[in-house]
Amino acid sequence: MTSTVSAPTDQDPTPVDHRDPQLRLRTLFDTGTLRLLVPRDSSGVLAGRGEIDGMPAIGFATDGTTMGGAMGYEGCRHIVDAIDTAVRERVPVLGLWHAGGARIPEGVASLDAVGQVFAAMVRASGRVPQISVVLGPAAGGAAYGPALTDIVIMAGDGRIFVTGPEVVRSVTGEQVDMERLGGPEAHGRRSGVVHVTTKDDESALTTARELAALLGRQGRMSPDDVTDGTDLGALLPPQSNRAYDVKPLVRDLLDAPRSGSGGAGGGSVELHAKWAPNVVTTLGRLAGRTVGVIANNPLRLGGCLDAASAEKAARFVRMCDALGVPLVVLVDVPGYLPGLGQEWDGVVRRGAKLLHAFAEAVVPRVTLVTRKAYGGAYIAMNSRALGATTVFAWPHAEVAVMGASAAVNILYRKKLAAAPAEEREAVRAALIEEQTRVAGGVNRALEIGVVDEVIGPDRTRRRLAEAIAAAPAARGAHGNIPL
């Protein structure tokens, strides 16, 4: 696509190519704040500093108008310098990608330079927020640049792939176009490479601003400012086996967005919304401070954890821990998804990542069991044993190895089999009632201290904020490997 748009702040009426890196950086930053780090040259990369809602940040953009944005030695030096500058100044760094890979005429020197960009990203990992916005093709080496950063946003024309359609065709004979190979659907839903997909460049850059503000200026938590009283419990269905979408609950738990601050107004951004949707990971604000929310979503797979969702949550936990973002964990989970597919997919190995991520995290992290927490998934969802700061539960929550009826079928199999057929259901019902009384609900969990406090849904925002504010602020000393 080569449509043209006018640069918003230029006096010069000449139309500017929408791929122009200076135009893109200018759109990213607050009006009039872009200052180039080095004068524009033929390197194919432009880097500068600017402000996002008044917060200093560093940005770089590959030049899609020159050799398709291919990366050479000089351009890669600019990117490395930009990242190093951001680390030195402790500000977020945002990369705008439109690059066909390494510059072929430069040979192995360009490969070495691209490798140095990767190394700079890993040095910066976990120290400053790194956000990538893929606006055009990001192929070959340029695919791994975004993939190494904390968050990848893809606009409608963004494409990420290691090898393009022509190579795929010549090697395997497979006919596939760029969009199917590496477009928003491929990476937003299938591969999990991309965290946020947007319809156009403008909304991609707006989302990048929101995320940079959430991660770069996290704010202070003020529990006294929390307006409670919304009955969050009304967002759950009355029947305990009924599915529901957890997203309205996440939305209402977080602060309502401020209006009119140019896309960096403290709204919330869901990451990986379509990939592994049975767990929801959202950055937003609670009592004025940035938090990361992890929530089981019963609408998808009954809210079960599986290999992909455990991996998604684990990466989110580690990112938040490295960047000092406290965690709120909303638990409504029937267990791990059973089945051959899951076992062969590595649910044990990938599920272990979530256990490791939570147990290792030092940021304040509070858990709320809204409805149920069963089995191994109970442990994985930031349980007391893994070091949760505080574990809350709503009054009707159930914390158990499994639901009462399933437990009775296992524990009393012989007794049930021995009962006369006409009495069997009555015996079963009595056993379930007894099992619920002894092992169900939340009382046993309270007794042994794995749940700290039962709270009403209408006091939840306030209590979560107080628990986070009371915990010592800390930040994990590790990078954010793209798990």
Partner: protein, 71 residues
């Protein structure tokens, strides 16, 4: 392009909500499964016409079994 919707887990088919020929939107519930003591809606992930429903109420589906086709 046809979108095949497959079972993501072993489950019983509890309710068939949509019918062949229906216009469906992204997010619409097509079928409700039952597994893990939970009702699990099977949701359209694209919009189009429901051209095939491969399950009946009471069926048991295995992971990967075809449930519906949207075109």
């Amino acid at each position: 392009m046809a979108e095949e919707i497959k079972a993501e887990m072993v489950a019983n088919v509890w309710k068939v909500v949509a019918s062949v020929g229906d216009q469906v939107a992204d997010g619409d519930t097509l079928v409700i499964l039952e597994s893990m003591k939970m009702e699990i809606p099977v949701i359209a992930e694209s919009e189009g016409t429901l051209t095939q429903l491969a399950v009946n109420e009471g069926d048991v589906v295995q992971e990967g079994d075809l449930i519906a086709v949207i075109e």
